[in-house]
Symmetry: C2
């Protein structure tokens, strides 16, 4: 893995001084072409052996290019806002928008490698972490992010020599820490673990590039070229596979008429009296659960999806009525803002994830990708097909972080919807709730039904199962939802 | 202050049940009118005596209105991201965008009042804090935020009765904490401190409303009405004084031709050789300063303003060359994003403030308000006139939080600018740097000069003075800037 990086590449001053001006101009051009076109974001990962010139090289690139459009991030100890959220949360926060270049030090590789070197994680865990990272990076690539992964390498002698040099010079002494020597003593193990990480995460879309760090001029030219080539290749390429095709994806045929939705018994009986008793019981139960000290160990994510007028809002209000307003936040998902459009699809949901002891309720959610976006053709078939897996990974990370994820699909019959539309148009202070679009969506009823069934089949996981709610009777639906939330919380808090 | 709130207002069930439906419909209408028009943001402050029904009332309002467009925030212990930033930072983060309602518990009044009750702050400090808050709220009001300040009150007996009731009921026992009783024992002092706070911060734009918390039905109706009246008044009012008039502000005449800028000796001598020696010296000094352990106690904000082609970018690069890329971020200020436009003017700058040990470099800044926006008439005279004071307050809060603020105006002569424009147009990889707009701005040269002089006069404070940089000679300018930064850091770190 590191063979050619130990050959001791060198660049003499003359060659260097001759090459830099052209390289610099080309990098600057590419950077501004990127900035103007806003076609994609660039993420540069800086990893490798201490003393191999990671910092110097990036500082130099910042001199060569326009530093105003390069964002560098170093993740040392996680902030307490990060420590109560999934492992990937701080990195999502640091993703650059389209048109910009983000440079990430101590990124998602740092902790897993460190833990494995210190033997505080098992090989199986490590491999699993690498697999998660691989899928995460694949998602970034599919979302159009240009990922440049640089591993700065030194031979053992090379590292020793380098650390000693740095320690000698008062200008650089501050940079050599005990941690550096600690790792040096574990050089072989560190190299082996790193080698495995690189092998497991080098893919066609997101390959690693190993940088021989022994010579400052060589590594500067080398990294500059790698970055330039990456930028040019993407800027010049004609077909932009990551731009969603705006044509509707062909929906595969259904062989028979039986599906998850029409096999539900949508009309359920519940008397007003029965409803009020159960409502009080479950709201009381939920109120006590969310005030239980054990609750502070968990965040809660509730996802509400359903056809128009299925009763999402009403069900949500019955839940929030049992919560303290300081505990929860409702995120209504509408059209993304321009800042959100400049980021990978899931970014706009990550930014709202709850800390421990908090509840975030998504009124519509990331499932828009495989529902409205699929049916209306706002994204390509490739995009919504991969979304199932990406969503499963996302929710899996939530659950791993101790977050309780409960997902509801509120199902109503076509007749019930019609009745509710008409009722809403009649009621003055509900008129705002019914729009042209609702009528249009109604015409795509069968397409949506099919999309919902595929969604339930592909994203109902052991960690985050879907609850299909028979919602023609609002009362029944609200009680089923409240009960499901209570049981999910009790199960999580019992662990 | 609290007299009428101790009269023991009561509302019987019948009156209540009769009033609620209409109130609720009206609130809902107002909320959606607000949401559609996106005319302004609403901030509701919830303060007052424990047990006076703060939480219940807001929970109820959330039931009455559409909770999806109400964001409630509770600020308990500051996160470590907040603790390294100015006192107001978490509250800026929580401000709702135009069209939404934000409910803030434990807001900017909580800590100052608590500290004063506990006698951990002096009366003078407290009065100063209240004064800062008053100016902050005035700014919000000018920015179009509708501020509704609710103080929930109970008589001493009333509070005791209430806390005991809550403790009796297992459903509500969790809500009474030792803290509540701790405050109860200090009831008189708490009431006096609160009374003073209310008096000092009740202004025409941002008055306090005292809520008699003793009866649940009364306080619910009362708060609902207060909120409704506030919303309606603003929604219905014709003249929207907070909308910037798009006409250019008349620039007051200059009596003579002497001003800060033309009294500068713009042409300064510095040989290439001298420059290189000094550059190395000051960059070395800055490198050591920013690696000094004492530096981790300070954040640094560098502000670069100056005419087009004045050399901001070049000067910034000479500074960043001495820094570690992990320490700094450059924020180029261009047109605001849509999320930023939905917030008060200074919000987009607050979001980028550095933590300790970090440097944020603003390439153009909040001074755009009193420069380009003033000259081009993008905001009203009233807006840029008040901006001077708001900016001074903002920078004062930064300095109070241990942030070093250094502001540079790079001044070049009209001839020098022309020469640089031409040079840029000639150079291939600098062409992107010169636009139509640059030529247009040049025609307003004298107007800009006048705006710069006013800016320097009104915002050069002892905490955050302006450094006017003679920049016809780039080399001289860069050295002066580097030296100024070094000296500012040394002064701050010596304290």
């Amino acid at each position: 893995m590191f063979e050619s990086a130990e050959l001791g590449h060198r660049t003499d001053k003359e060659t260097y001084d001759e090459a830099v001006p052209a390289l610099r101009a080309a990098l600057l051009d590419a950077q501004f072409e990127l900035l103007d076109s806003k076609q994609f974001a660039v993420v540069v990962l800086i990893n490798g052996i201490d003393g191999a010139g990671k910092g110097e090289t990036v500082n130099l690139l910042n001199e060569w290019m326009d530093p105003r459009h390069i964002e560098a991030w170093a993740f040392d100890t996680p902030t307490d806002e990060a420590s109560v959220r999934p492992f990937m949360w701080p990195f999502w926060r640091a993703l650059p928008p389209k048109g910009k270049i983000g440079v990430l030090f101590n990124n998602w590789y740092t902790e897993p490698i460190r833990e494995r070197v210190e033997r505080s994680s098992k090989k199986a865990d490590f491999d699993q972490q690498m697999d998660e990272i691989r899928r995460f990076e694949e998602m970034l690539a599919h979302e159009g992010v240009l990922l440049i992964k640089l591993w700065f390498h030194l031979s053992k002698d090379g590292q020793k020599k380098r650390l000693k040099e740095l320690e000698k010079d008062p200008k650089t002494r501050w940079r050599v820490t005990d941690r550096d020597w600690h790792y040096f003593e574990r050089y072989e193990r560190y190299r082996d673990v790193a080698g495995r990480a690189l092998r497991l995460t080098s893919t066609g879309d997101c390959p690693w590039t190993i940088v021989d760090g022994s010579d400052a001029r060589f590594r500067a030219l080398f990294v500059g070229r790698v970055l330039l080539d990456g930028l040019r290749k993407r800027l010049d390429t004609a077909q932009r596979h990551w731009m969603p095709r705006k044509t509707a994806a062909p929906l595969p045929p259904a062989i028979d008429s039986l599906n998850l939705l029409n096999s539900l018994q949508l009309k359920q009986d519940m008397s007003k009296k029965e409803y009020e008793d159960l409502l009080e019981r479950y709201q009381g139960r939920l109120a006590l659960l969310t005030r239980d000290p054990a609750f502070r160990e968990h965040g809660v994510v509730l996802v509400f999806e359903g056809g128009d007028a299925a009763g999402k809002g009403g069900a949500i209000r019955r839940i929030t009525a049992a919560l303290d307003v300081r505990q929860y936040r409702i995120i209504p998902i509408a059209a993304p803002s321009e800042e959100e459009l400049a980021q990978p699809y899931l970014w706009r949901f990550w930014r709202h994830l709850p800390g421990r002891g908090k509840v975030v309720i998504f009124d519509r959610s990331w499932y828009g990708r495989v529902l409205v976006e699929r049916v209306e053709g706002f994204c390509s078939e490739a995009d919504w097909m991969r979304a199932y897996g990406e969503i499963n990974d996302f929710e899996d990370q939530l659950v791993q972080a101790g977050t309780v994820v409960v997902k509801f699909w509120l199902a109503i019959s076509k007749d019930e919807q019609l009745a509710r539309f008409k009722a809403r148009e009649a009621e003055p202070h509900k008129r705002f709730k019914i729009t042209e679009e609702d009528w249009r969506n109604r015409e795509r009823w069968d397409d949506y039904a099919r999309a919902v069934c595929d969604m339930a089949d592909r994203t109902s996981t052991e960690n985050a199962p879907w609850t299909l709610v028979e919602a023609d009777n609002k009362l029944f639906a609200r009680i089923k939802i409240l009960r499901t939330v209570c049981e999910a919380l009790e199960a999580a808090m019992a662990k």
